[in-house]
């Protein structure tokens, strides 16, 4: 099995929770980009698919003293002992040594959902049905991302199809490295608050590396040692303290399905 020790770049994301308004644009942009059809009537919070899901948490005080925060959660791209990868009996999950991206190969997946149980972040979703698009919407599907079928697990992969495109662009001009401006995931692009920053964590000049090293930065469940490559920022202490708790409550309106 491959390991991440030979990584040439290590893509990561930083989400500023002090900026996030919970609008859900990231969820929508992600779904459109990655051919995730809108949930049908009978989907529930448990069965719906959103690679990026916005949770709400509060500081536990009662009105009018209460404060709340919105937390967009997607695959945290664990860099150490990646739980989903280590449990997969099919080798359908792989950490790309060149990018650090945790890849999910749906065509290899047998649908046992062991990875979903193993994922500490609930960031993996199962296709309970074949995907169905409302009439007319099929024409707007993204040709660079293959739709998944019933019976397989899927999750965020930092919009790897955009990495493909960026590499094609680099190859056409004879460059070996991609231009970072060519590889920006859909959620980053869509966020009206500019709350999400993306880039190479190993590139010391990158904005994302600087943010991740700052005082406001933290990662969820860092105590379990999975070394996620998604960081969060907040200057509020109670928000940072959430990081070792499970976010208790989801806000229905922000959860599609």
């Amino acid at each position: 099995m491959r390991t991440v020790t030979t990584a040439r770049s290590r893509y990561g994301m930083v989400i500023d929770l002090d900026r996030c308004t919970g609008c859900g644009s990231c969820t929508v942009a992600c779904s459109v980009e990655n051919n995730i059809p809108p949930g049908t009537e009978n989907v529930t919070e448990r069965t719906g698919i959103t690679w990026m899901r916005v949770y709400e948490a509060d500081d536990g005080k009662s009105f009018p003293d209460t404060h709340s925060v919105f937390v967009p959660i997607m695959c945290q791209q664990c860099g150490n002992e990646t739980p989903c990868m280590s449990v997969c009996p099919q080798n359908a999950v792989e950490v790309d040594p060149a990018t650090g991206i945790v890849g999910q190969i749906p065509e290899r997946c047998l649908g046992c959902r062991y990875c979903m149980a193993a994922c500490p972040y609930h960031a993996r979703y199962f296709n309970w049905w074949d995907p169905k698009w409302p009439a007319g919407m099929e024409a707007a599907m993204n040709p660079d991302v293959a739709p998944r079928m019933r019976g397989v697990v899927e999750k965020c992969n930092f919009c790897q199809s955009r990495l493909h495109t960026a590499r094609e662009r680099a190859a056409s001009t004879g460059r070996t490295a991609i231009d970072p401006a060519d590889y920006v995931p859909a959620c980053v692009e869509a966020c009206p608050q500019r709350a999400i920053t993306f880039g190479d964590l190993d590139d010391s000049d990158s904005f994302v590396a600087a943010l991740a090293a700052g005082d406001r930065a933290f990662r969820f469940l860092s105590r379990i040692g999975t070394e996620p490559k998604v960081w969060y920022l907040s200057s509020r202490e109670w928000v940072r303290n959430l990081s070792d708790r499970v976010v208790a409550r989801t806000r229905k309106e922000n959860v599609r399905g």
């Binding site: 792989e94 790309d96 890849g103 190969i105 660079d144 991302v145 790897q160 199809s161 056409s172």
Partner: protein, 195 residues
């Protein structure tokens, strides 16, 4: 009596082998004719003198144009140039009605496979022939063979049912991609070739 008895297993084996190696491949694939006969030789080199790039362009951004659209054919084929029945039908049914030809792509990979031409043509400097054989200089289109179970083109598995490769371009399964990659010391992650 003993002779007929010993013939039974031999006959059984022969029937089995015949079914497996002769009947199965014929039953496994269904054959479809291309909508129009296209003659590459007539358009390239000594023919109409076009280059592969004229029709199969690799764009500035690295996107591969694939098979040219009907508007490109219309530049020369508003009216039939030659006298062949095939060309007359092509002009009347497609060019004059501005209708795209539903070509059947021999090399078509499944939806979930990602293949970048620009990397192989510009960066790795591979000739089209390495993967497509003599298609670019052929003078007609062979029938398209489709696997009845998977719906894939036979060119993915290759012509030999046992999977024996006679030419570099004969078969383009995942293993074939990877065996060339390993020759070039080009170890790829799953998500590099899957989308």
């Amino acid at each position: 009596m003993t002779i007929t008895r010993s013939l039974v297993p031999i006959a059984g084996l022969a029937t089995g082998l015949f079914a497996g190696w002769v009947v199965f491949p014929t039953v496994l694939y269904t054959t479809v004719d291309q909508p129009v006969q296209f003659n590459h030789a007539a358009h390239t080199g000594n023919g109409a003198g076009m280059s592969c790039q004229d029709c199969h362009a690799l764009g500035q951004d690295g996107r591969f144009a694939g098979i040219p659209g009907i508007h490109q054919c219309a530049e020369c084929h508003e009216e039939p140039i030659g006298s062949s029945e095939n060309e007359r039908r092509f002009v009347e049914e497609y060019v004059q009605q501005n209708r795209e030809v539903p070509w059947l792509v021999y090399a078509r990979q499944p939806d979930n496979a990602y293949f970048p031409h620009v990397v192989h043509v510009h960066k790795a400097k591979l000739a089209c022939e390495t993967c497509h054989g003599k298609h670019g200089s052929s003078s007609g289109l062979r029938p398209y063979e489709m696997n009845r179970i998977s719906g894939y083109s036979r060119d993915i598995w290759g012509s030999s049912i046992a999977g024996i490769k006679s030419q570099a371009w004969d078969g383009m399964k995942m293993d074939d991609c990877i065996s060339c990659h390993s020759v070039h010391n080009n170890d790829r992650a799953c998500i590099d070739c899957h989308k």
